[in-house]
Every structure is written in structure tokens, then in C-alpha cells.
Subunit: 112 residues, 2 copies
DNA sequence: CAATTGTTAAACCAGATGGTTGACAATAGT
DNA sequence: ACTATTGTCAACCATCTGGTTTAACAATTG
């Protein structure tokens, strides 16, 4: 369903600069210049990061005069979270024994 | 706290082969050969993916005779999920108006 | 039309990724 | 000891990344 999008979403999130930009956008819309400002980086460099976020569907741009205002689009984050929650049982301590049971079933070689 | 680990975790998840391997591991422990089998890929290629997962702390290996059995470690997934849930309010429809309010506060230029 | 501001695009670089092949090591079975 | 199985490692390749600089384009202001 959204499998193909997980690639770009997770990739976009794999960079601290981009996560920082998202955090910044959470406080309100920002221009590309404003987004890049905290990161001691060239404008073009910041613009590349924004483009990655945009291609992942995490930010949307709209023109406002000569600026382009970026706003957060959380939908892909929701999808990524949905995917991650599939694994909830595996980090839930109460179900550690379930995992052990699964192991018992697939285990073929005895080990000491 | 775990910020540095988010980099490697999200990156590891950004590849469909590796997500597939994780899904496979959820069914029980597997050797590297078994993990690579479904992907029509050289053994060495699969081993590289496993290494990425291992460095992200998502799989753990233990020797069992001449095989090395990989098992799922969900802790980093939990951390990634915790990070994502910070954004829950932004994809929750009920709080769309909150986002609008934030926008109002940071907005400086009127747009038509 | 010119100056300023905001953004895009292109060329370039070092390093990482995803993949291959081939040589090698270690274990299990005969 | 030999062979088959399982895995490691290094070399190699094409492509992507994250970053730079520089130049060009677009829109607003004057």
C-alpha cells in the first residue's frame, strides 16, 4: 500500500539536519532560508535537504510573494509510525516469551 | 539520548530488502543465507544488508556450529517509534486546528 | 530598468551505498 | 584428509549523499 513511500520517508528521517528542520516546522511554517539558518550550512545545501523532505511528502511549499513557505505534512510520519507499530509486540516485555516460543518452532539445531 | 541512534535506525529501515529481512526474522531466527534467499541476490550482498541491520542494533548474531543465527532486536524500533509519536498531534485530525493556530502565530506576511 | 532578496540549478568533490565477483576460513559429514 | 556448507573479506563498479561554490532566474521594491 504505502510500502514504496516508506523508503523515502525513512531515508528522509535518517538525517539529523532534516529531523531538525521538521522540528522547526512543527513550530510554524518557515521559508527555506529560515529552515537552513540554524545549521551553519550554505543556502543551497539547506535547499537540498528541504527537497529531500519535499520528495518524501513531509513538507509542502506554497508561494508567498518572493518567498516559498514550507509547511509540515505529517501524513508520511503517520504511515511510518503505523509500520513501526507492527513490531510493538516485539519490544513489549510481556511478549518476550512469545518470541521465545517462535524461536522454539523455527529452531532446528541444538546449541550449547 | 538516543538521537544518534535514530540516524542508523531510520537508515536501516529505508531499504525494502532490509525491512523484508526484519519481517522474516519476526517469524523466527534465521541464518544469513536464509535471510538473503528470498531476494535473488548474492550471499555477500545479503550479508552486507545484515551487517547494516546489525550495526543499527536491529539484529543480533550468535554462533551455532558453522551457522550464525540472526535474531530480531526490537529496541531500536521502539526508540524510532517513540520519536515518531512526538508528531502524533500533527497527523491527528482533531488537532488540525491546533496546527492552524501555530501557523497564525508565526505568520508574518499576509497571503491571498 | 536597476537593486535587492529568495530560490533554483549546475558543476564539482569526498565519501557512503548497493551490488557484484573471487579468494579465503571455519565447521560438519563422510 | 577431503568435500560441501556457511560465512568473511577485499576489490571493484555505478550510483547516491551531503556538502561546497558559482552563476542564473524570479519577484518585490524603488
Amino acid at each position: 500500500m504505502v510500502e514504496y513511500r516508506l523508503d523515502t520517508t525513512f531515508r528522509a528521517l535518517a538525517d539529523p539536519t532534516r529531523r531538525g528542520m521538521l522540528a522547526n516546522l512543527a513550530l510554524g511554517d518557515k521559508s527555506i532560508g529560515e529552515l537552513g539558518e540554524p545549521f551553519a550550512m550554505s543556502f543551497a545545501g539547506a535547499a537540498k535537504h528541504v527537497k529531500v523532505l519535499e520528495q518524501a511528502g513531509l513538507v509542502e511549499r506554497r508561494k508567498a510573494g518572493r518567498k516559498q513557505i514550507c509547511s509540515l505534512k505529517a501524513e508520511p510520519l503517520k504511515e511510518a509510525d503505523s509500520w513501526l507499530r507492527q513490531w510493538e509486540t516485539f519490544w513489549s516485555a510481556r511478549l518476550d516469551r512469545l518470541q521465545e516460543l517462535v524461536e522454539q518452532h523455527s529452531k532446528e539445531e541444538p546449541n550449547g
